[in-house]
Symmetry: C2
Subunit: 415 residues, 2 copies
């Protein structure tokens, strides 16, 4: 057995215990983890300092170093996150659709854990604890594979969590870190069908694409967002300007930020200058269609074909004037990534029809796409945002980390 198979088998065995551990024990383990992280933050910070030093020596970009860095405040935030997960309702055990069939069989659908979840992510040590807490609460064992730049920090966090699990009477192997950070081990993890029930990549487009293309384990695809705001001719133009300004600039690096503005021809001459007045306060670069450039001027760069399909993740916005509702929604069908799409309109029929015809995880009327988020949607937690249609779509909370089984009570029925 390879090292990873050994870890997979251990996780599988731990998952069998965890699946029937019950809410009280799982919550006690989460509380023990929170307390242990507080008590042992010295060793965690020391490991993180070593990661940061190595990262600086390797010439990591400042933004990456910032995501890697921990301090007392960030650790307090991580601990608070664990306690919030402990406070959430336990999704496991709920039975839905229980009924008695004409032959007397009583059949219900019970929510159960998925089993063993693999998480592949970048050098963000907070994800290590966050993902482990969500998996634990939902009764799943977890195999974590974080970016190698955060390896020492992850190792420290996982050591603390495993000790706390043991102290709370649960198997240490409910949480494990893949210690081989080679490219080969990533490939092996993606093929570990015997031990992994699902693999969730959390990170940038490159990481996600690589996992989706190479994994044989079932994957939940997360996060790529080419989101549109469509300003319909029936829009409140002030509201529309505030919405595109927020959707583009409040946090351009995240997947629910807007990348493209579509504007109905009838209002483009009025609206585009209003939108630009707000967008220019954040120095947003516009890449427009010819009509946009004719209205706003040559400071708008010409949009290339590739721009319509790009998640800029930056203060860059593609802008296109369209001939009406059908052209706008056809354009979204052709270029959207199925993440979050918004219309701004006061026209009842346009609003309802947009909700009907646009095929995306979240479809908005008169609100910023930035709300697509587990906390904002009231799920209480988020393991990621699914952009696929199977199993889960949109923000994923604890329920999306579960499966179901039918339970059947009989009195000797045969068929």
């Amino acid at each position: 057995m390879t090292q990873l198979e050994t870890q997979g088998l251990a996780a599988r065995n731990a998952a069998r215990v965890l699946s029937v551990a019950g809410t009280a024990r799982k919550n006690a383990a989460l509380e023990a983890i929170a307390a242990a992280i507080v008590a042992r933050q010295g060793e965690i910070l020391a490991a993180n300092a070593a990661d940061l030093e190595a990262g600086k020596a390797a010439g990591l970009r400042p933004a990456l170093l910032d995501r890697l860095a921990l301090d007392q405040g960030r650790i307090a935030g991580i601990v608070e996150g664990v306690r919030q997960v402990a406070a959430l309702p336990d999704p496991i055990g709920e039975v839905t659709r229980m009924s008695t069939r004409p032959n007397g069989l009583t059949i219900g659908k019970r929510r159960v854990p998925l089993g063993v979840i693999g998480i592949i992510y970048e050098a963000r040590p907070n994800v290590t604890v966050d993902a482990a807490a969500l998996c634990l609460k939902s009764g799943n064992a977890v195999l974590l594979r974080g970016g190698k730049e955060a390896f020492r920090s992850n190792q420290a966090f996982v050591a603390v969590m495993r000790d706390a699990l043991e102290g709370a009477g649960l198997p240490r192997d409910c949480v494990a870190l893949v210690t081989d950070t080679s490219r080969e081990s990533a490939t092996e993890l993606m093929g570990l069908t015997e031990y992994l029930d699902v693999l969730i990549p959390r990170g940038g487009a490159g990481l996600i694409r690589s996992v989706v293309e190479n994994a044989r384990v079932p994957v939940i695809e997360t996060g790529v967002g080419v989101c549109h705001v469509y300003v319909h001719e029936g829009a409140d133009l002030d509201m529309a300007a505030r919405i595109i300004h927020n959707a583009k600039t409040s946090r351009p690096s995240v997947c629910n930020a807007a990348e493209c503005l579509l504007v109905d021809r009838g209002i483009a001459r009025d609206f585009l200058p209003m939108a630009w007045q707000l967008l220019q306060t954040k120095d947003v670069e516009l890449r427009g269609c010819p009509e946009t450039r004719a209205i706003l001027g040559d400071f708008v760069k010409p949009a290339s074909e590739a721009d319509w399909d790009t998640e800029f993740g930056d203060y860059i916005l593609a802008v296109k004037v369209v001939g009406g509702f059908d052209e706008a929604t056809d354009f979204i069908a052709a270029h959207g990534s199925g993440h979050s799409e918004a219309i701004v309109t006061n026209d009842y029929n346009a609003a309802q029809r947009f909700l009907d015809v646009v095929d995306a995880a979240a479809v908005y009327v008169n609100a910023s796409t930035r709300f697509t988020d587990g906390f904002e949607f009231g799920l209480g937690a988020e393991i990621g945002i699914s952009t696929q249609k199977m199993h889960a779509r949109g923000p994923m909370g604890l329920e999306e980390l579960t499966s179901s089984k039918f339970i059947i009570y009989g009195t000797g029925q045969v068929r």
Copy 2:
């Protein structure tokens, strides 16, 4: 574009129309399909006769020829199935969990079609109509790829269905048959990620394994069943004998038939002869552990290691004496396929604990595993039985052919 890509694109466009077609139009199309199959059964039976003739010439086994054959009675059954699907509630459009957030956003989760579904199946022309009807009712376009021995029959059914769709005002391409039946086209279909949302294999273990291993499109794995009946020492032995007899012999070729009998040591000497008395009426071949052979005699063949993991699909039963509940459930965890598992017992704690610890799509107390079926479970229809944990598990009806999207009504909210 290849022929298959052209079909995929046409299906994708048809799916956009179908997704918002509404219940009345979908039901009218299903009724039109039922009526057209009745009206045009002459051409369908002629095509089927040509398939049968070619099949006989190619030396197809009688069982395969029987599955391939149509007659007026079977066509009436197929038509009745379409009308039953039309009569089922439409799952599309239901909104769950709608609530208003503190910031005034009203957020709901709406059930929507998956999009385009691919079905790969063997030479069973009834599946062509059955699968198309279920996909249509759930708002999905479907690409059908049936076994090549049934090609003429499938082509006749699909031609009739496409004409009926058009007559009912829906795109013909809601239902399409993959006309290239080469091995290469199967491989291409499994990689058609741009146009297919999900691929469902229906058929034997070989077909399913090939699809699961080769597909890059998301797959819903169906059907392999290595199911156990565990007779606990607290069982009513008469009931247990009737249950294993039914689970093994009522239809041994299907996935919910039992393949292995586990018997507690304390009752084995009493129970095994009782079970054999019923099983021998169907000439069941037993393959037993040494204890089983010591009790029943040398007519029981010795079970090989491979027998414990085999879906016999025949009048063959593996039999093992176990040392109690934990050994039985560990054995099921090691050798079961996660399909259907049953305990026979009158012990309350053993029953409840079996439902807790056994990880399978359907877990039974005191009933035959043969009930794992969409109709028996009250789903009204069945596209297959999922043995995976993601998206759907167990019998899949119309709801399992759907996804969801969040719809958000705002009044100008920004974040």
